[in-house]
Amino acid sequence: MTVPAKTEDKVLALNEETKLFITFWLGGFLFAIPVEEVVEINRSLDITPVPLSTKFVAGIINLRGQIITAIDLATHIGLEKHSQAHHNVIIGRDGEPISLLVEQIGDVLEIPVSEIEEPPDVIEGLDTKFVKNVCQLPENLLVILDAKLLLNN
């Protein structure tokens, strides 16, 4: 997997306001969620499927004694193609946390606020409802997800 360009660091001006993001790969996209929304990142956890639940719910997992809901993120945000997602990005610091299942965890990126843009109306192969912002990286488009919306939907 390509590591997002290191050159970014050099570009950063000393006083420029930046934001930290956790990034991950899913269905060929590079997604990001603000660090402050993320509780923790976990490798493969045992998922217990819950029959009759909504399609985008993958099941429930045991996070150190707490039962949390695992979301099949790819289905939820309407990714057309994707492979097995085993990694857990757990979000929701206040209230009920959920786990987003992703294919691979990327780097933590520090991105200048000035480079964060409004999302386009359409992104091919993806439901833009959950996209909050985008950021054009040298090699990829970084899709920043709306964590609040994911938590409340």
Partner: protein, 908 residues
């Protein structure tokens, strides 16, 4: 009483906390004498103590707090400012208050001692002085000498401006004139007043106290030095919940460790894990206790509600609360508030009559409503009992027909109990007019749902004209429950044990024969009962993967039984209930999730939710029962038989229906006390019967674990101790009586390719304890002679034995023809007959008896393996008086005694 103590405890805890804070605040106050906020806070604390002391009638405490408050109010209003002397006095007051609180905590009463009264006088005088200072508008800072002589005071007052002179002179005069006598005069008057106020108990004990306390008295100015030790700590509820969670985790880890330990089989590890197990259990119980609250917290809201309701309905109600100190989990207390309120509203609105009506029917005009809570078998029972008009079952039926809930023909078939259950149907309300109290669309169905959500159940008992009792049974806690673990489609699920009735293996051909398919639905015949079958795999949309034959879990929803078909049954376990996230809120078939011993998650099934989802209806079952009734007759003699071993070589059998409970116990639970072997079981001691002591069989080998077959008769319990439960099968019993003619053995048969001895449970228990069974003949001093016609030797012996042990004289016949012959020759008081018999069946026999003029009045009772309405009707047509199921010994005996007293009371 208990409830008052509870409030007192709360008051003391709160007061102690506040007093500790007061110490700090006073010290702060000296540094920041103008801090209004601080003064207000101190004032509030003292004020609260005063108020509560007044409520409890602690006069001394109230008086001290009152005068302290007096002083504080002057400070707060800025009339005087704080100085060292005032602070001293107030701190002293706090110390006295502490001393009284400490005494209250210890004895529940105020201490009786002169020093408190003396201090009270000092404080009162001081408060007066401060008041005067405030009145005089003197600069408090200058006059710090309030306790000094009047001369000094007058000297100080020279500086006062002329306008104020009047007032201050007046004050001086007062001061002066009283200066000398003050000590005696005021103080004696005060003392008297206070003594009067503090009640008779003081008067009683005041005589001996002065002597006892004389050393203290000398140190009059000194303060009783009391440090209040903390016996209660306030803890955040969240912290308790977390502790509870952690305890739950510990239980899971323990479960896992115990599993591993039993696999590894290392004695040291085993001991260690057992120790851990004990400590964990105790810890769990203790933590659970921290969440317990008295149910009074809810009950105490009702006197007001009842009063308001009584007023608005024009009824007179006397509410009696019992068992308010019964404790249960706080989450449950919260959850039962609304259902209880609804039930109380119902009781007053629908249950109790208005005073005029009550007087007319000869009841006191004031209705009684009892709210009662008590513990019973690990559950809390809450009863709402009124002495009102009771529920008219016919009215309910009429209403249900009117609302289209049932048809008139269905209504006819309903028993009273079933009819009462109609109240819980959605859309049912008996109030003829909708009142603003109970007819607001929230019906009993909601109450029932809420109670069931808590894992509880609700039951109504009513006597027309004399009252209704609604009984709620609720678990003590929701957090940790026993559950049965089953699998379906390679996934594990937990089923709360409270809903569990029994387990049935579906692996054998015979068991599968009991499955009936009607249309799209499946039903199961369980010992003559028809229950709907629900396949878990179908509900969940999983692929069923049974390992060796499916199993049937018979569950009870409160309204009905149904069978849940699962792939396999694992074990029963204590599980920790954890809530599911919001994504699952609309899936009613889950009650939560739990973490298993291996760390994986399993879903907890909601019995009521499942039955709702499938849309199970009691009517469907009735319909199938009628349809299947015809086929049933052929299987009449089929019985469920429990097979077990005492020693591994010999197999024994008894009808499963006779067993009250089956359980496993470890060997260390067995005790030998007073010449009897007993076992501790569910907090009780049950005597043990070792079968080898009564039968010529191989002895029970030493084992770590034994199985118990528990039998009950009224309050009496006894258990057979056996080594292994082999199976339970449904079969027709073909008994060979010739081989074994031993008391306690009915005969032998070949079951599962082994010669199996059928035991006579009643005889064996009687051999162990001749007084176990209660004699149930209807009348003393007369022996009733019975004729029993039964073709199956197994049933013939068994029934004859239990009839004989109940005190009857029993003669037997092997079929109807033989019975007829015996009836011709001999005189009998009652005929008990099987229906299906060779040569002459029970119905024909009954007809023949009724046709004979000499025997026309002979009471006849029929015994069958199953009883359907259709059979009963036919029986009654043939002249049979009573219809009972063979193995229901209690019912048979009760009905027989009833029948005999009815028949022979008439004749006499």
């Amino acid at each position: 009483m208990g409830f008052d103590e509870e409030i007192l405890k709360d008051f003391i805890t709160e007061a102690k906390e506040n007093l500790e804070r007061l110490d700090e605040e006073f010290v702060e106050l000296e540094q920041r004498p103008d801090d209004k906020e601080l003064l207000s806070s101190i004032f509030r604390t003292i004020h609260t103590i005063k108020g509560t002391a007044g409520f409890f009638g602690f006069k001394t405490l109230e008086a001290i707090a009152h005068f302290a408050e007096d002083i504080l109010s002057k400070l707060r209003d800025g009339l005087v400012s704080v100085d060292e002397e005032i602070t001293d006095m107030l701190l002293k007051a706090v110390d006295y208050i502490k001393a009284i609180i400490a005494a209250l905590e210890e004895t529940g009463q105020e201490p009786v001692d002169e020093i408190y009264l003396d201090f009270l006088v000092d404080l009162r005088n001081f408060a007066d002085k401060v008041a005067q200072r405030a009145k005089g508008g003197e600069k408090a800072g200058q006059d710090s000498a309030s306790s000094k002589t009047a001369e000094e005071r007058s000297a100080a007052s020279k500086d006062v401006s002329p306008e104020e002179k009047d007032a201050s002179a007046q004050a001086q005069a007062e001061e002066k004139s009283s200066a000398e006598e003050k000590k005696e005069d005021v103080s004696s008057a005060e003392k008297e007043a206070v003594q009067k106020a503090s009640g008779e108990d003081k008067a009683k004990t005041s005589a001996p106290t002065p002597k006892a306390s004389s050393p203290k008295k000398e140190d009059k100015g000194g303060v009783p030095h009391v440090t209040l030790t903390e016996t209660h700590v306030r803890v955040d509820v969240k912290l308790l919940d977390q502790l509870m969670n952690l305890a739950g985790e510990l239980v899971l880890s323990r479960n896992r460790l115990v599993q591993i330990a039993s696999r590894i089989n290392d004695p040291e590890l085993f001991n260690a894990s057992q120790n851990l197990s004990l400590v964990t259990t105790e810890l769990q119980e203790k933590i659970m206790k921290t969440r317990m609250q008295p149910i009074g917290n809810v009950f105490n809201k009702f006197p007001r509600i009842v009063r308001d309701l009584a007023r608005s309905t024009g009824k007179k109600v006397n509410l009696r609360i019992e068992g308010a100190d019964t404790e249960l989990d706080r989450s449950i207390i919260e959850a039962i508030k609304d259902p209880l309120t609804h039930l109380i509203r119902n009781a007053i609105d629908h249950g109790l009559e208005d005073p005029d009506t009550r007087v007319q029917v000869g009841k006191p005009p004031v209705g009684t409503l009892v709210l009662r809570a008590y513990h019973e078998g690990g559950q809390v029972v809450i009863e709402i009992e009124d002495d009102g008009r009771g529920i008219d079952v016919n009215k309910i039926k009429a209403k249900a027909i009117e609302k289209g809930l049932i048809t008139p023909s269905e209504a006819e078939k309903l028993s009273d109990r079933e009819a009462l259950a109609l109240i819980f149907r959605p859309g049912f309300s008996t109030a003829e007019k909708v009142t603003n109290i109970s007819g607001r669309g929230v019906g009993m169905d909601v109450v029932k749902t809420n109670v069931e959500k808590l894992g509880g159940n609700i039951d109504i008992q009513t006597v027309l004209g004399s009252g209704t009792t609604v009984r709620l049974k609720i678990p003590l806690t929701l957090a940790i429950i026993p559950a049965l673990i089953v699998t379906c489609g390679e996934q594990r699920f937990a089923i709360p044990q409270v809903n569990l009735r029994e387990l049935v293996g579906l692996s054998s051909e015979e068991a599968r024969k009991n499955i009936h398919v009607v249309g799209e639905s499946e039903f199961y015949r369980l010992r003559g009962e028809i229950i709907p079958l629900v396949r878990l795999s179908k509900i969940l949309g999983l692929e069923s993967k049974p390992v060796d034959g499916e199993s049937l879990v018979v569950l009870n929803t409160g309204a009905m039984d149904f069978g849940l078909v699962v792939d396999s049954i694992w074990d029963s376990e204590e599980i920790v209930v954890k809530p599911l996230g919001k994504h699952f809120k609309n899936i009613s078939i889950y009650a939560g999730a739990t973490i298993m011993g291996d760390g994986k998650v399993a879903l907890i099934l909601d019995t009521v939710g499942i039955s709702r989802k499938v849309g199970l209806k009691v009517e469907d079952v009735d319909r199938v029962r009628d349809e299947a009734g015809v086929a049933a007759a052929a299987e009449e003699e089929q019985q469920f038989i429990l097979l077990f071993n005492v020693s591994p070589q010999e197999q024994f059998a008894i009808p499963l229906a006779l067993v009250a409970r089956l359980d496993k116990i470890s060997a260390d639970k067995l005790e030998f006390v007073g010449g009897k072997e007993i076992v501790q079981y569910r907090g009780r001691s049950i005597p043990i019967i070792r079968l080898e002591n009564y039968l010529p069989i191989q002895p029970l080998p030493e084992q770590d674990e034994y199985h118990l077959l528990v039998f009950t008769e009224g309050e009496n319990e006894v258990a057979f101790l056996v080594s292994r439960i082999v199976d339970s099968i449904q079969t027709r019993i073909d008994l060979d009586e010739r081989l074994y003619q031993v008391e306690g053995i009915l005969g032998s048969s070949i079951l599962k390719e082994k010669t199996t001895l059928f035991l006579d449970v009643y005889k064996l228990i009687e051999m162990y304890d001749p007084y176990f069974f209660v004699k149930r003949i209807p009348e003393e001093g007369r022996t009733y002679k019975l004729l029993l016609a039964e073709d199956s030797p197994f049933f013939r012996q068994m029934i004859a034995n239990y009839l004989a042990s109940a005190g009857y004289e029993v003669e037997t016949a092997t079929d109807g023809e033989e019975a007829w012959e015996k009836l011709q020759k001999d005189q009998f008081d009652v005929l008990i007959t099987d229906i299906e018999m060779p040569r002459l069946n029970g119905l024909e026999l009954a007809k023949r008896v009724r046709a004979d003029s000499r025997l026309a009045n002979l009471p006849i009772m029929a015994l069958t393996s199953l009883s359907s309405e259709e059979d009963k009707r036919k029986g009654i047509e043939a002249g049979i008086d009573e219809y009972q199921v063979k193995l229901e010994r209690n019912k048979v005996l009760d009905a027989l005694a009833d029948l005999l007293s009815r028949k022979y009371a008439q004749a006499a």
